[in-house]
Structure formats: structure tokens, C-alpha cells
Amino acid sequence: MLIAEPSTAECLRLLLDEQAWRLRSLAAIVADAARHRMPELPPADWDGPARAAYDELVERVRIGIEEARSCLAEASAHSTRASATLESRG
């Protein structure tokens, strides 16, 4: 029995499935980092300009990590949708 080689479209669909799964797990890891790896609040008696700069940078880190997580989740959803579209085309 001859086994037909998968078409390019089928290859892309398989790759998109794999990508969606990997992106989903990476999004979960990044979310976990945001929850558990971010340092706790600094000492309460530390204030002044250095403390203000610290707070600003920490907020930027939080925003950056959240943006990365959200984009990863979004990319995963797009990949799943693209795979489904390719499958529906037969």
C-alpha cells in the first residue's frame, strides 16, 4: 500500500496545531512567573526617588509580562483557528 505524502497545507496544519499547543504551555509558564517569581514588596521604610523609580520599573515589568502572556494566548488561539480553517478546506 502506498502512503501518500502529506500536502503542504496538511504540513502547515500540523505545524499550527503543534504551535498552538506550545504557545498555550508557554503562556501558562509566563503566567506562573508573573504570579510566583515577581519579588514581594520592598521594605516599607524605603522611600524617596530611588523607591519611586523602583515602583515604576516593577510596574513596567508586570505590564511587559502580562502583555507577553496575553499575546502568547492570542497567538495560540489564532494558530488553532488557522488549523481549523485549513482542515475545513479539505
Binding site: P39, P42, G64, L72
Partner: protein, 476 residues
């Protein structure tokens, strides 16, 4: 009650640099993790390229997925860079605060020395002016005290103690404690002023200079004066083992060691650790002051020992520990780790400084041992509550380089009125010891590693009790 620890070298720091360094380390770790995620995402991004997307007329969502991955890569890069900035910044901030505080401490000591000298010069004049009034007041006070019955005097003592306990907030204020530390350090300068020694000579020989005179000189003068009045006189001591038990676990950290400091009436505990393939090791635990009097008792852990030890003399408690160590089989080659609380910490530091023992670790809790010249190669951890008056009486760490861990108690409600100096209680130091064991500060971790021994063995723990040999004991 704050759980924050301030870690420093011999000089105090007033911001929580330990916490800043810990934060710095955590941001470095997070930046490494974000870098790893970014690398994994970049690899994933290379699998589906523009070629394959164009070849099959890929759906729009596949292109949107690629765009979202690019945005995620950019966000991870920015977050990683910000984490690195935070890691750098926090480390530099901690170093800067330490430098500034060391500078402020040095300036404070210089200022206190100058004021002390001026006070020494002015005291004779002030005394001359105030003498008539002082004599009248003193005479009235002495007459009233003399007229009291023994019960009345006892009542007066307990009333005074009760008043101090109920009004102990000032005694437990970190500012007051720091002022006492500087005053103690300035006592030799006041003596120089009193003796009309040229200021520059006083500074050169004092603890701001060569350190030929300092807190120990002042304490020796006080001990000498008390001795002249028939008080604070040293005596021989006897030591005997009270109980011994084998098979106890080895001390694992600072809390373990602090818990092994004996309770009254015992003063010394010595753990002998016998392991195969090496000499026996010893852990010596020394208790704090048990008796607040300077005369008449057979307790060597008294104020006489405190005064004599701080003056650099041979205190009864010091000789008692030496004798207990001899009885335990400790010689000049036996590896010994010393742990002491309050007066016990002072004695432990002096034993380490004596050069008579192979001391491989020293832990002091609330000890007035600032002036003891402990060799710098001995791992030395000094715990102090910044509102504990007792360690401040030893001045600053001018001749040794311990890792000083400070913690402030009672930074919220006022201290409880059960004790005059609640910040000096061993129970509070036990809590601080727990925090130290949990700390990830690199200086604490490095010192704790040096206090630990890889080879485990059987532990035999012996408790010793010492007594002063009083005059009737000596008389035939």
C-alpha cells in the same frame, strides 16, 4: 514587630539593605527566566516561516498568530531588560545606603568624641557650681534612705523597678540606644577632657584613632572605682558538671544554637560531637547575666563579671567557662564553636579573641562585645536588636568584623511593660534567629555555611554550674 533584618559589617546600617539585596537577586533570576522563555519562543517562531504561509495561501489567523508572537517577543525582551535594570539598581542602592550609613556612623562617633571631650573639660566647673545644691539634695536623699527600714528599702526598689517597667518606652527607643552607644564610645574622650589631655592626643590614642584607650578603659575605671568602694570585687570560682546526655541532635542553625543556651541556674552547656575519622568537635553555649548585683552573691554571672569583662579583666564567668571547657576535654587544638547571649556573648567573644582555642565559629546574641578584638578569620555572627540597650553598652565594632544582623522590635505598639528591657529578652532573640536561618542574604548564608560541619557524629551534651568562692568559703 518587624521581620526585616539589617545585615552589615562592623558598622550599623539604617535601611534594610539585606531586603534590597534579596530583591536584587530575585530580579536577576526573573530576568534569566524571561530570557529563557524568549529563546524558546524565538525557536518556535522559526518553525513556520513566511514561505510556507505564502505557499498554501494560509488563513489570515495564521498571519495574526505570527504577529502576536512577534509582539510577545518584544514584550519579553522589554520585561527582561527592566528586570536587569532593577537587579543592578537595587544592588547599587543597597551599597550606596551602606556607604552613606557607614559615613554617618563615623561622623556621629567623631561628633560624640568632640562633645565628650568638651563635657570632660566642663564637668569640674559644672560640679563646682552645682556642688552646694548637690550636697544638700544628696544629703536629704541619703538621710531619707537611711531612715527607711529594710522592708521600706525593698519596697522603694520594687517601686522603682515597677516604674521603669511601666515607662520603658524611652529605654527601648532605637534613637536612645544609639545615643547610649555613642556616649559609651565618647567616655574615653570625656576622660581625656577631664584630664586636660590635648584634644589631638586624646583622638590619636582613643577609639577613633589607635584604639589604645576606649570602652574597655572606661569600664576598667568604673570597675576600679567600684572595687575601691568594696564592690565589684572578683573572686575564685568553682565549676562542676550537673547533667549529661548522649544522642541529642546536632545544632543545625542559629535558632538551634540559641535554644541551647542554658536557662538559669545553669550557665554553660558544652556539646561534644564525636565523628569517625576526625577529632571531636565542641559547641559551647554560654548564658547571660543572672544576677544584677555587684556584691555578696555566689553567682559568677553577675554585674561584677560584666564590669570586669568589659574592662578586659579576668571575670569570674570567663574563668568558669575556661574551667568547664577544660573539664569537657577542650584543649588548644580542639575545634570549638562558641554561642553566647548577653554577658555570655561577651565571654564567648573574649574566648575567641584570647587565641587560646581553635575557635571556628562565634555567634553572639545581644552581647556588649563591640570592643573585643575577635580575629577576622573567625566566622562571627552578631545578632542585635536595634532597640536593645545592652549591646550598645559595648560600643561599636571597632576591632572586629562580624556580620552584624540587626532587627528592630516594637516598631508598632509600645513595648510590653512586663520587663525593663524587653528587646533584650532571649525569647525575642530566638525569633530573630529563626528569621536569620530563613534569610537568603548572601552574607548570612556564607557565614552559616562556615558554621556548619559536613561530618555528623554522636553528640554528648553536658551542662555545667559555676559558683563564686565567697570569703567564708575561703576562710579556714
Amino acid at each position: 514587630m518587624a521581620d526585616e533584618l539589617v545585615v552589615s559589617g562592623p558598622n550599623a546600617v539604617s535601611v534594610t539593605t539585606s531586603a534590597l539585596l534579596e530583591q536584587s537577586a530575585r530580579f536577576w533570576l526573573l530576568s534569566a527566566e524571561l530570557d529563557d522563555y524568549r529563546g524558546r519562543l524565538a525557536s518556535l517562531n522559526r518553525v513556520i516561516g513566511d514561505g510556507i504561509l505564502g505557499a498554501v495561501d494560509a488563513p489570515r489567523s495564521a498571519v495574526l498568530a505570527e504577529a502576536a508572537i512577534d509582539t510577545a517577543l518584544g514584550a519579553l525582551l522589554r520585561a527582561r531588560d527592566d528586570c536587569r535594570r532593577l537587579g543592578f539598581g537595587l544592588r547599587n542602592a543597597a551599597g550606596g545606603y551602606e556607604f552613606a550609613d557607614r559615613f554617618a556612623a563615623r561622623m556621629g562617633q567623631e561628633l560624640a568624641a568632640g562633645l565628650g571631650y568638651l563635657a570632660g573639660v566642663a564637668v569640674p566647673h559644672l560640679l563646682a557650681m552645682a556642688m552646694p545644691g548637690l550636697l544638700v539634695m544628696g544629703g536629704i536623699g541619703a538621710a531619707v534612705f537611711a531612715s527607711l527600714s529594710p522592708e521600706g528599702r525593698s519596697r522603694l526598689g520594687s517601686t522603682l523597678g515597677g516604674w521603669l517597667r511601666n515607662n520603658n518606652a524611652a529605654l527601648n527607643d532605637p534613637g536612645f540606644v544609639e545615643a547610649v552607644r555613642y556616649s559609651v564610645m565618647a567616655a574615653d574622650d570625656a576622660g581625656a577632657g577631664l584630664g586636660r589631655v590635648a584634644p589631638i592626643v586624646g583622638r590619636v590614642v582613643g577609639d577613633e584613632g589607635l584604639g589604645l584607650v576606649g570602652v574597655d578603659t572606661s569600664a576598667a575605671v568604673v570597675a576600679g572605682a567600684a572595687g575601691a568602694l568594696g564592690l565589684a570585687r572578683e573572686s575564685p570560682v568553682t565549676v562542676a558538671p550537673r547533667s549529661s546526655v548522649t544522642g541529642v541532635p546536632e545544632a543545625g542553625g542559629v535558632r538551634d544554637r540559641a535554644e541551647r543556651i542554658p536557662d538559669e541556674p545553669d550557665q554553660i552547656r558544652i556539646d561534644r560531637i564525636s565523628a569517625r575519622g576526625g577529632p571531636d568537635r565542641f559547641e559551647v553555649y554560654i548564658a547571660g547575666t543572672a544576677e544584677l548585683s555587684v556584691s555578696g552573691d555566689d553567682e559568677p554571672w553577675d554585674m561584677t563579671s560584666n564590669l570586669v569583662a568589659m574592662g578586659g579583666g579576668s571575670a569570674g564567668s570567663y574563668r568558669a567557662v575556661e574551667e568547664a571547657m577544660r573539664l569537657a576535654g577542650i584543649d588548644s587544638a580542639s575545634p570549638v564553636t562558641l554561642t553566647g547571649y548577653s554577658q555570655g556573648g561577651l565571654i564567648a567573644a573574649q574566648l575567641a579573641a584570647s587565641g587560646d582555642y581553635a575557635v571556628n565559629g562565634l555567634v553572639t546574641l545581644g552581647a556588649p562585645a563591640g570592643q573585643v578584638a575577635v580575629p577576622h578569620d573567625i566566622p562571627y555572627l552578631a545578632l542585635e536588636h536595634s532597640n536593645d540597650l545592652v549591646p550598645a553598652l559595648g560600643g561599636t565594632f571597632a576591632s572586629s568584623e562580624p556580620v552584624v544582623v540587626r532587627r528592630q522590635l516594637f516598631d508598632g505598639p509600645p513595648p510590653p511593660g512586663d520587663f525593663v528591657l524587653p528587646a533584650h529578652r532571649l525569647s525575642n532573640y530566638l525569633e530573630t534567629a529563626t528569621l536569620i536561618d530563613r534569610s537568603s542574604d548572601p552574607r548570612i548564608e556564607a557565614t552559616l555555611r562556615r558554621l556548619q560541619h559536613p561530618a555528623h557524629g554522636t553528640v554528648t551534651s553536658t551542662v555545667y554550674l559555676a559558683h563564686r568562692v565567697t570569703a567564708p568559703d575561703i576562710a579556714p
